[in-house]
Symmetry: C2
Subunit: 323 residues, 2 copies
């Protein structure tokens, strides 16, 4: 029997097409009136979508808050745009916080394939069902950007989207780079680093290793890890852990210098792998980094003879939570 | 020669007194006028102070953003209160973002023992020098709360502060509990979990293990880890890693249930240690958790025969960054 019994490879191969389709989903959906702040609710794969959105909004005038919890922050009110993201629409944390937002009179928009989120939210973007939530990142992320763009809260250029989709379509290149990474990681626990801005990408890599390959993985950002985590490298073991640096050519000059110096320091105790994105725009760099991590974690699962699709332990937890 | 050559034990023993002294430092310092949002700049130990403040502000009407980077978010303007926290006052990331805040006309208040932050900030709270930044958490944190309280942005009751200081004064109990934890951790890599609200406390434990004991340590929150990291436990090794659950009796009922279920799942592959805070108020629970982690990491350093105070690798990085 094939290791990839549920054909995650095919799902990943279709990711560029998924992103293209996702562009159509938010058409005609927008909010108007005052938006003092944006609160995005989401756990796991949807939480990453929230973080990626905050990254793309970093230079905008409207603050973005990510909520990975049951409760809404105290400041959220009728002038808040609350975006509830849940692939199934059944994530209990997101539903709880979404109900609170509706009670407070916030402008609420839901993004889901159905479930309570679809039923609760007066404005809703419905996405196709049948995928693992983490494999639906395109369906979850681009509609959030579309909603914000339609609502004139962010400007995303046509060129940036075209660039990102064109780069993603080089599927064979991503697969090949992913396979190369597996050989370099060699079954050790990966610790993934990016600049603070791209920390959500590092987090995505971490969680994809967790869920696809069912193995520990951790992440952090620079400069923050320079102030504490770096000390841990004094006693790391080369046979147990490996550091991956996601290096963005557009990182702040001081971050690039920090990464150069840290690489040499970390190499004393662990192997250090450097990874580059593709593309010029931030959107393309983010999505190309993510797509590479998806393939790297996929091939790591195959190498470990683990079916990448099912997440039995999470399903078991959900069943026990339901009692 | 003693392992604790620079006497970190004494510094830790004086932490309750430090907190008491810190209460006096922000007297008379406040901002007035519109505050649409609060941005707190800080790296490492100062970044944790920012996170802890955001936790205490969770039910307030003013959003709090934590910045661990060189640049200020796009929304920060003259209606933003920007608090620049740096123990030395020389943290380059904090200085860069602070300059940006001054250019934008934000209401800027600095907290430092001197350095550029003291020179740059028109309003400044000066704290005593001569400590390791991570050992100055009381001097850094309570002035932030004092400033926010003086500015009527948060209400902190006298009772909560008295409760916290009274609990912290039971130094012998914290030391004893810290020593017990070292025996349970047994030199393995700790992975520390708390609820999303108390994630900054878990992060503080992690960074204290990194800096005091010079060993790897990681952290995450619930419910987020239920959506991905939990899968990693399928292939963790009992002899390499150990999970610590920081359990707050006031955690959301569903979080408590999640922790109960996760404990049983994680026990299949690693040992799980549960830890409780002291006190009723959130401030007391946070500070008592932190003080316990400080002692646990201290005694772990001693057990590993590592001087807890110096962080040579961070100092080396700083020297190389200066070239």
């Amino acid at each position: 029997m094939a290791i990839d019994a549920e054909n995650m490879a095919q799902v990943l191969e279709q990711f560029p097409r998924q992103c293209g389709e996702a562009l159509e989903l938010p058409k005609g959906i927008y909010v108007s009136g005052k938006v003092a702040n944006i609160v995005i609710l989401g756990m796991g794969g949807s939480g990453i979508v929230a973080d990626l959105t905050a990254t793309l909004m970093r230079s905008q005038k409207t603050p973005v808050h990510v909520v990975r919890d049951y409760t809404l922050p105290g400041f959220a009110n009728k002038d808040s745009l609350v975006i509830a993201v849940s692939y199934s629409g059944k994530t209990e944390e997101t539903i709880a916080a979404c109900r609170e937002a509706l009670e407070r009179g916030s402008k609420v928009v839901g993004i889901s394939s159905g479930g309570d989120i679809a039923a609760l939210c007066p404005k809703h973007i419905r996405i196709p069902e049948g995928l693992q939530p983490r494999a639906a990142l395109g369906y979850l992320f681009l509609p959030v950007l579309g909603l914000l763009s339609n609502s004139k809260l962010i400007g995303i250029s046509h060129e940036d989207i075209t660039e990102a989709l064109t780069i993603l379509s080089n599927v064979a290149e991503f697969k090949q780079r992913g396979q190369t990474l597996v050989k370099l990681i060699k079954g050790r626990t990966p610790i993934i680093y990016a600049s603070e801005l791209l920390k959500p990408v590092a987090m995505r890599w971490k969680t994809q290793f967790n869920e696809n390959a069912k193995m520990p993985a951790f992440c952090n950002s620079l400069p923050e890890m320079n102030h504490n985590e770096l000390c841990g490298y004094e006693s790391m073991k080369r046979e147990e852990m490996v550091a991956l640096l996601l290096r963005d050519p557009q990182d702040h000059e001081r971050i690039r210098k920090r990464m150069d110096i840290c690489r040499e320091m970390m190499k004393q105790t662990v192997d250090v792998i450097e990874v580059a994105p593709r593309g010029i725009s931030l959107l393309a760099r983010m999505l190309s980094f993510i797509y590479l991590g998806d393939w790297a974690s996929y091939y790591t699962a195959i190498e470990r003879k683990v079916d990448p699709t099912p997440v039995h332990i999470i399903q078991k937890l959900k069943r026990e939570m339901a009692f």
